[in-house]
Symmetry: C2
Subunit: 144 residues, 2 copies
DNA sequence: TAAAATTAAATTGTGTACAATTGAATTGTA
DNA sequence: TACAATTCAATTGTACACAATTTAATTTTA
């Protein structure tokens, strides 16, 4: 491998990561379109289905997104009636985001999506588990 | 695992893929900033360093990007003097993109970036190879 | 406790991404 | 060979994504 081979697209690790991420997210689109949701809105809801209430800062840490991305996104989810945005009473710097009943009811309808998307990604259970582990290892190393 | 556990962020395969992709790309930023380049511009150059000349359609297939993304991006690279855009003489529908001398000279300077980014991703050679293989398997399955 | 430092969200500006449409060029076919 | 179908790039419109800055609230500290 000469000096410049490392500059070939097919020798990069980042490129298939970038491309696979986008292609898998595209697979969500037809399912999410039915509910007028985007992938990013979907993962935000996913956090709220579990957390019930969380501030923007912590939501951003979980999703690896900042307020520049989340502020407009959350306003859209609020406009759809799926979440509620309220300033914390104890610390007005914090905006508390919580799930509404309407938003919570979507949970049932959206539950089958990951399974359906999973079916068209051609990995067996072991490969999926290995990929999962390696991706979290990458994530962990890039964050600190 | 109950019905809704599949809706937890930490049980998704797509989410760490999405997040790891973004975090690794961020690692490129300080290196690319020196040359006023973005990651997407960088991978476009990477193709051109090898292909010398390619039309937008084929470039898009290699990068998993469409003309909506590439047209403005290529105009920026042209404005920087790194590439040239010319209509094909034999078929004017095709826009031929080629690397300029200035663009080619960047190759030397940008050669060390993937190595430097690689160092801060905490995977050994075997893990990197496994991840690479699995990502291409995902890519292949999502494309057809 | 008043000023400085910190924190959190919002805003601003740039650059992707991509679906859908448009328009020009070429190809296939009746 | 006209004309319909196809192909390619550009355009339009929406939605992130993120760096950098701003604004407001809170905490620290002199």
């Amino acid at each position: 491998m000469n000096n410049f081979d490392c500059l070939k697209l097919e020798n990069q690790l980042c490129f298939p990561l970038y491309a696979a991420s986008k292609e898998v997210i595209k697979k969500y689109k037809p399912y999410l379109d039915e509910y007028g949701l985007t992938y990013t809105q979907y993962i935000a809801l996913m956090v709220l289905w579990n957390e019930r209430e969380i501030n923007v800062k912590k939501l951003g840490e979980k999703l690896f997104l900042d307020s520049g991305t989340l502020t407009p996104l959350l306003k859209k989810l609020e406009a759809k009636g799926l979440i509620k945005r309220t300033r914390s009473l104890t610390d007005e710097r914090n905006l508390m985001v919580s799930i509404t009943n309407t938003g919570d009811n979507l949970k049932e309808k959206l539950a089958s999506i990951p399974f359906n998307v999973g079916k068209c990604v051609n990995l067996n259970e072991e490969e999926a588990k290995t990929l999962y582990t390696l991706l979290y290892k990458v994530l962990k190393s890039t964050v600190d």
